[in-house]
Structures are given as structure tokens and as C-alpha cells.
Symmetry: C2
């Protein structure tokens, strides 16, 4: 196994606050990014930031330093044009719980969150583009890309793929109950937390769909607890 660099090789992804919540382990970063579903991509547009939710995928063996994080969008999208060649921030967060502490100050949330900062590269190599687009589909439904027809030239021409190096990344996580002041505990005030998780409801076939739900989609829904 290759030794991976520290998760925070530069100042700008070194966590400044809440250092006890830092996850300093690149394998945990990869595992989290492999599991989560939505990225929030921050791009500077003119004099202000724009943050948009995006599907994403990660290739730890991708050509960028530390591996590649991919997002895609329409070639016509404004944020994507601004992102190409500039430094972007891609943040992926999963909410795991509400922490109902004994004081307002100690209220918190349980979560896992990864922050990746780096230059956005427009992916132009057709093989890498195809692989990245497959990875984005498989992030949603593992194994699905291999079951679909190839994308048409028109579809590919309409899609832009960006890669961001995973090199500069940080991850924070919080779990468990409240961290309360001893005097609030001594006073007998109640504290605790509400665990949260994402679940799937049963798969909804499109009106014209025939035949059974494909195994990949059924497995995805089942993994998320659909009954």
C-alpha cells in the first residue's frame, strides 16, 4: 500500500477551528467521498462566490495529484466556465444527527464533511471524460454505468467535466452526544442527540417502464433501507 500524504498539506485546507474534529486519514476521506452523494462546488464569479450543488465522483487513481474529484455540468453553464482554470472549493457533507445540548451554546450537529480546494481542470481526454461520467453515474447507483447504452456524440458534446486534485483536502467529523458544561450536567438538565440518516423509499418505475427493477437500482435502494 502506498503511503499517502497528510490530508492537509497546505495552510488553506488546514483546519483552523475544532481541531479535535479533524479526520487525519486519507483512507477515511476516500471512504467518505465514495459514500456521499452531493457536492457543493464553490466558484468565484466576478467579485463574489457562487456555491452550487452537484453530482460528483472520485477516482483515487485519477491523473491529478492525490487523485481526481470529478464534477460535470452543461457546457453552457456560467459557473462551470468560471471554474475552468481557477481555484475552486468542493465541499461534501453528510448530516448524521442533531445534538440537543443542555445549553444553546453547545447545540451542534453530527456530520462528516470533506473540503477539497484546488485548480479546476477541464477534462479533454475522451477516455478520461468517459470514465469520469461513468463514475458519476456509479456514485449514484453502483454498477449502473456498465448497463447503459454508450453516450451519443451529441450528449458528450453537451457535457463538460471538471477535475479537481484531491491533494489539498481536509475532513472533519462530529459524532455522539453533547459536550456540555459540568454545571449544566450537575443541574440535572437533559441533554442528548437525535441520530439522522438517509433512507430510500421503494423504487418508483417510470410509467412506461416494463420488467423488473434492475438489480443495480434494487441493490442501491435496499442498501439505503428501502423495504
Amino acid at each position: 500500500m502506498t503511503t499517502l500524504p497528510s490530508l492537509s498539506p497546505t495552510d488553506r485546507t488546514t483546519v483552523q477551528r475544532g481541531k479535535h474534529r479533524v479526520v487525519d486519514d486519507r483512507e477515511q476521506l476516500h471512504a467518505f467521498l465514495a459514500e456521499a452523494l452531493v457536492a457543493h462546488v464553490g466558484v468565484v464569479v466576478g467579485d463574489h462566490p457562487v456555491v452550487l450543488p452537484c453530482a460528483y465522483a472520485v477516482d483515487p487513481a485519477g491523473p491529478d495529484e492525490g487523485g481526481s474529484l470529478y464534477v460535470h455540468g452543461s457546457v453552457a453553464s456560467v459557473w462551470l466556465r468560471h471554474a475552468v482554470g481557477s481555484t475552486v472549493c468542493v465541499t461534501v457533507t453528510e448530516l448524521d444527527g442533531l445534538v440537543a445540548a443542555r445549553s444553546a451554546f453547545n447545540h451542534s450537529m453530527n456530520y462528516r464533511s470533506a473540503v477539497v480546494i484546488g485548480p479546476a481542470r477541464l477534462v479533454e481526454d475522451e477516455a478520461e471524460r468517459a470514465r469520469a461520467l461513468d463514475l458519476v453515474v456509479d456514485q449514484m447507483v453502483p454498477g449502473r454505468a456498465a448497463t447503459l447504452r454508450p453516450s451519443t456524440r451529441k450528449e458528450l458534446a453537451a457535457t463538460a467535466v471538471l477535475a479537481v486534485p484531491l491533494h489539498e483536502a481536509s475532513m472533519k467529523a462530529r459524532a455522539g452526544g453533547p459536550g456540555d458544561e459540568p454545571e449544566d450536567v450537575a443541574a440535572g438538565t437533559w441533554g442528548g442527540h437525535v441520530p439522522l440518516r438517509r433512507v430510500a423509499d421503494p423504487v418508483v418505475p417510470a410509467p412506461e417502464a416494463t420488467g423488473p427493477v434492475p438489480a443495480d437500482v434494487a441493490a442501491r435502494a435496499a442498501a439505503l433501507g428501502a423495504r
Copy 2:
């Protein structure tokens, strides 16, 4: 009822792509922001954007144009210092489903997402600060702020509250099954979607907690489906 301005009074929050997904209704924006739990706040730090997950709350009657969106953080946090007085972007997204289309190109997600862009104002008025902090607690667990002891001077001194006007906002939403090509439907390929939602598991009292789970916490968990 007051007539509210359009959700997109300026170019920078006018949705450029996917106009069929635009929710052009300020009441829906407020209802969504009252329900969601995590904001991703984008701030320009030096020459690059930083996007961080934050608890937030909204006061539609707040002093900023269009009402106020509040986020809070430690007075020592770097992103917060950079945010004060600059234009920030606050994006709130809830994922509602995975859309397993008949082609890779038409794969999508069901979601609701609000984007608010505006100047971040450091809230200095003590009454507004106290109200904003109560709203952030109540966003997590409705009704909880009123049950807690007042914050101490030290706690208040450690906390910075930012307000962003709700004036410049856009909202997009996608729901339902795939929008597939007629030829993919005609070919008999399966398509559908997997609805997703957030659920609570049973409340976990802290080890030292005594007595029943408070009604506000129990109600929050029950509303999110905890059994």
C-alpha cells in the same frame, strides 16, 4: 398578504440553466429554508473560495432586505472574519432522490436547493444576536431555545453571528422520474427513481441525562420518523 418581490431580482441569482426547475415563489423559498438543516456558506478567502457547512436559520421579518438569513460561528474562525462585509453565497440543498434514467446523460437527482447571495453583515445589536441564536437552535429542534438557560456573557462573546439579506435568492427543485429520450423509452430500457428522505433514529440521551426526553426533542425525532 404583502406582495413579495421576484425571487431573482438581479442577474447573479437569475438561474441560467434548467429554467424549468426554477421555483419562482418566495413562500416556497421560505418554507424550504424553514425545513432544511444545513447551509453551505461560500466565502472568498484571498484568491479562492471556501465552502463550509453551517447551521443556519431564517427570519423572514429580519432587518435585511427581503428578510435575514443567519449563520453563526466562532469569533476566531478565519472564514467568518473574511465573510464580514464581503459578498457571500449561502446554498441550502436537500436531496430527495436518485433518478436512474435510461441513459447516463439523463441520470439526475431529485432535490430542492436555494441559493442566496449578498453582503454578510456582522450582527452587533444584542437583541438581534440573541434572537438569531435562538432561531438557529429552533431550526434544529423547534421550540427548544425557550427551554434552555440564557447564554452566558462568555458564550455570547465567543460567538459571531452573520446576517445575509434574503433579497437576492433563487430556488431550484427537481422531482419525479427520468426525462428520457423517446428512443430509449421505445427500446424498452428500464427507467425510474429512488426516493430518498432523512429519518431520525430513536433519541439517544446523554449518559448522565435523567428524566424523560423533553417534548421538543421527542417531537422533532417523531416528525422525522423515529419510532
